[in-house]
């Protein structure tokens, strides 16, 4: 069997005139954690529900483990119960009238497993999620974190092709969220699960995923490893949604000697690698973008390339670091910096950008 567990080919899902999923194609390989990251309403949950069979696509093809499960053109649609998936809902969807044991046993009972096998596998699944002694409990007597584990056990109990997780951590408090994140990762390593994960939390996406798809308005803006998407965001949206981005206005200058970025404001002319500026003409208005954590604060002095003058407007002491609100060429920035040097509100400083970590975009 091929290593591709899930494949989307130009899948479209419309709600009325809204294209919730707008021609999306991607594949997920066995044993991979693939995350759909995006703001609410971007179509990531709809994509997940299309995989589950809870929504029917309007166009395209969805293929699970080499088997087409939804091809509207051929009138083919496999209902959710025939797709061999496991899913953890944002609300957990623990059935309140069933005990913990019966909740987890449900998928096995549906599959008419023998009662001995049910007992054994439920116990095993509960053990895996750390709820060994809870089988007899009523489902409603559990805390949020425990309900979440029950939902996870229920999704895992019959070894699904793909585990679908729909914002599973969003209802937990910060500490528990961190812990569950680590546990999901460990579980995936141990069981070799294939996971499709939906979240709007970039930290969750970065720490958990093998690959991330940044979803915006029903389209995949970029798919790649977390570092790749963070370091080399291909679109404005991908850049802004994963972490913060600051941008300085300026123009491209080209002459026989090479290319430069010319700042609007008080800064040194900064040389550009030919390849970076290749797509721009001489004089083209552009924005120079970088991550705030890649900017260094230096005391006032001679301006070197990629340095600019700025004024400190506000200082906040965060304990482990300082937060400076500075303004450079009219652009307000918030920079978090270590405690080695200390600047006061009103000080004039230099900001030093890292030439290896900048992007140019047309203005």
């Amino acid at each position: 069997m091929s290593a591709v567990v899930l494949e989307f080919r130009d899948v479209v899902k419309r709600f009325g005139s809204v294209h919730a999923v707008d021609g999306v194609s991607f594949t997920i390989e066995r044993g991979e954690i693939f995350t759909l990251l995006g703001p609410s309403g971007c179509g990531k949950t709809t994509t997940l529900r299309l995989v589950a069979g809870l929504e029917e696509p309007d166009d395209g093809e969805i293929i699970i483990a080499g088997k087409p499960v939804a091809v509207p053109a051929r009138g083919l649609y496999l209902p959710p119960e025939k797709r061999q998936l496991g899913m953890v809902f944002q609300s957990y969807a623990i059935w309140p009238h069933l005990s913990v044991f019966e909740n987890v046993a449900f998928p096995l009972r549906v599959r008419r497993e023998s009662s001995e096998a049910v007992r054994q596998r439920v116990a095993q699944a509960l053990e895996i999620v750390g709820l060994g002694g809870f089988a007899k409990r009523g489902a409603t007597e559990l805390s949020g974190g425990q309900q979440q584990r029950v939902a996870l056990a229920r999704a895992l109990v019959y070894e699904p092709e793909i585990l679908l997780l729909d914002e599973p951590l969003s209802n937990l408090d910060a500490k528990l969220r961190e812990q569950m994140r680590a546990e999901i990762r460990a579980l995936q390593n141990k069981l070799g699960l294939t996971i499709l994960y939906v979240t709007h939390d970039q930290v969750e996406a970065m720490t958990l995923s093998d690959r991330i798809a940044v979803v915006h308005r029903g389209r995949f803006e970029q798919v790649g490893r977390p570092e790749e998407v963070y370091e080399k965001p291909r679109t404005e949206f991908a850049a802004g949604f994963l972490g913060r981005m600051v941008s300085f206005a300026g123009n491209i200058r080209k002459d026989a000697a090479g290319c430069w970025f010319e700042w609007n404001g008080n800064a040194a002319r900064s040389p550009l690698a030919i390849i970076v500026a290749a797509t721009f003409d001489d004089g083209a208005p552009v924005r120079l973008q970088t991550r705030p954590e890649d900017i260094e604060i230096l005391p006032i002095g001679e301006l070197l390339p990629y340095q600019t003058i700025a004024t400190v407007e506000q200082v906040a002491y965060l304990g482990e670091s300082f937060e400076y609100h500075v303004r450079a060429a009219g652009v307000p920035l918030v920079l978090t910096v270590g405690k080695k040097h200390r600047y006061q509100a009103g000080d004039t400083i230099r900001l030093a950008l890292d030439p290896a970590r900048i992007h140019l975009r047309a203005r």
Binding site: G53, G66, P79, H97
Partner: protein, 575 residues
């Protein structure tokens, strides 16, 4: 692979067809059972021959109905009564709701529970009880009054305009409004009142300038709804108005159909007029509701912790509430009990005035036993049928997979505003003018069908609320886990909806048991239910026996409602 590929197209058919099929059959069913009676009502008014005979069309019915001097005055009386009743009812229910929800009156929870119980006390036995208390010749309060010095004539007379108004303030209406208004008062954002306080307003100023104006749209909405529902009233007007020659349109329709031969044409013409008036009223109500978004501050945000301190007046308020409940509920019910055990009601001075004969005679009367059986069949069928039908309808409406949801929804709201007597008249036409005549006319099943229709709005809404509260996730989780729709329904939906189904079923059972205006045109000698028997007892002047039967019905309802409440509470506790 090949096996899967060949079986796939079939699974799509299985997936989509049942939903569409169910939707279409529901639409067809509702259109037939809700729409056709209305259509028959309108066309029937132009039909000069009796239902089931070859139709002859003309406007004679309308001419005759409106040359009958009583017709217009009956319509006018319906409106006058409904408006006049509304004034004390709104003042009382707003006061009750405010005291319960917004003040530190002791026993607020208790009073609320009492209102809840009082709402379910059927009105017909209460009307009887007021006759026992106020009748000019044998009414107990009149006898007491006459024994006072300086009083020689009867002080009270329930038969007439003010008698009807008074009895209505003690039956269902007020309690229902209190139950509607208490949550509204509770949800009023506390900050609004707190801001008024901080700005220097005392309780009276705050109430007058902030609380009431903010709640005015809701209070008005409840008033208009009560007014429209007040027009449906039948029982009280029949017992207290008819002897005094006061007719409302519903008793007038009944009167037309009691004549020999039955004046179907006139009754239908009158019903049609009222239907048109109702449509106009509803249009304005709907306009008003959809336009009235100015005061959306009544939200769940900031549940009120601020309660108005009444000081020593809080005991007065509590005493006042208790007194009202005592006078309007305990007093009449007590006299219903006394009445049912008296040899001859009102004669306290004869030797051994008390007897169990009425109970004994009633319980051994074969007519009673048949009526009891009929009632149980009708109420049981109504409850079970309503639960099955409307849980499925609610599921369809909530699943969002229907394209005709708005149409389905409006069809199922029709009986909410359609008076029982008109529904019954429409259903009567449907039965008489179609082959249904041979199956449903005059049978217990026909009555059950009409009652199931009458239950559609409340039952559907209850299931919709329940399903929305459960959310789609629980069902979808089962589907993804590998369960078929049927398995999901059996193992997940049904057990979760069971408490709602039981509570709603009990409520429908109760209202089927006490309904008079719906079966009154549909029953025959063989299908007479208890409520109609009660009506007959009171017409023939067998007040003692009527009291016994009224109490029996009230007791059955009481037991059912307590069970229902218990089930309802269990549901709330499990979430």
């Amino acid at each position: 692979m090949s096996l899967a590929a060949t079986s796939l197209p079939r699974s799509r058919r299985l997936h989509l067809r049942p939903i569409r099929l169910a939707e279409l059959s529901f639409l067809l069913f509702l259109a037939v059972v809700m729409g056709l009676p209305l259509l028959f009502l309108l066309t029937g008014s132009f039909n000069l021959s009796a239902p089931g005979k070859p139709a002859v069309y003309g406007i004679d019915n309308w001419l005759r109905a409106f040359t009958d001097s009583g017709t217009l005055s009956a319509l006018g009386m319906s409106f006058t009564l409904s408006v006049v009743r509304l004034i004390p009812a709104m003042i009382l229910s707003v006061s009750f709701a405010w005291l319960i929800a917004r003040t530190d009156m002791p026993g607020g929870k208790f009073i609320e529970a009492v209102c809840w119980i009082a709402y379910f006390v059927p009105d017909f036995p209460l009307v009887l009880a007021w006759i026992l208390l106020l009748d000019p010749s044998f009414g107990f309060l009149n006898s007491v009054a006459k024994s006072l010095p300086g009083v020689d004539a009867s002080l009270f007379n329930p038969y007439g305009f003010w008698g009807i108004v008074w009895v209505h303030t003690s039956t269902g209406g007020i309690w229902f409004k209190v139950m509607l208004l208490v949550p509204v008062f509770r949800r009023l954002g506390a900050t609004l009142e707190e801001a008024a306080r901080v700005a220097g307003a005392n309780t009276a100023v705050m109430l007058w300038r902030i609380t009431l104006p903010v709640l005015a749209p809701m209070i008005l909405a409840v008033s208009v709804l009560s007014f429209i529902r007040g027009l449906q009233s039948f029982n009280t007007e029949l017992l207290l108005g008819t002897p005094a020659g006061i007719y409302v349109y519903s008793t007038k329709i009944y009167d037309f159909l009691q004549r020999e031969p039955r004046a179907y044409g006139e009754a239908t013409a009158l019903g049609s007029v009222f239907l048109l008036v109702l449509a106009v009223l509803l249009f304005f109500y709907w306009k008003f509701l959809s336009g009235g978004k100015k005061f959306t501050v009544v939200t769940g945000q900031g549940y009120s912790t601020l309660r108005v301190k009444l000081g020593k007046w809080r005991y007065v308020a509590f005493a006042g509430c208790l007194l009202y409940v005592a006078v309007t509920m305990l007093l009449p019910l007590t006299f219903l009990v006394i009445g049912s055990f008296m040899r001859r009601y009102g004669f306290f001075n004869i030797a051994s005035p008390f007897t169990v004969n009425h109970w004994h005679n009633m319980l051994s009367d074969p007519i009673f036993l048949v009526a009891l059986k009929n009632s149980l069949i009708i109420a049981g069928t109504t409850a079970a049928g309503g639960v099955l039908l409307y849980s499925a309808l609610a599921y369809l409406l909530v699943s969002r997979r229907t394209v005709t949801a708005p149409l389905l929804e409006s069809l199922c709201w029709i009986p909410h505003v359609l008076p029982g007597i008109l529904l019954s008249l429409g259903v009567l036409w449907l039965f008489l003018a179609t082959p249904l005549r041979f199956v449903l006319y005059g049978s217990v099943w026909g009555i059950a069908v009409a009652l199931i229709l009458a239950d559609s709005p409340v039952t559907t809404q209850a299931f919709k609320a329940g399903l929305l509260q459960l959310g789609a996730d629980l069902e979808e989780a089962a589907r993804v886990s590998g369960a078929s729709w049927r398995y999901t329904y059996r193992r997940v939906l049904l057990p979760l909806l069971a408490p709602i189904a039981a509570a709603v079923g009990l409520m429908n059972f109760g209202s089927a048991l006490t309904s008079i205006s719906t079966p009154v045109l549909l029953y025959s000698h063989d299908s007479r239910p208890l409520a109609i028997l009660l009506l007959e007892y009171s017409f023939t002047g067998e007040l003692e026996r009527a009291a016994a039967l009224g109490l029996l019905i009230t007791a059955i309802i009481g037991v059912m409602m307590l069970i229902g409440r218990k089930l309802g509470l269990q549901l709330a506790g499990s979430e």
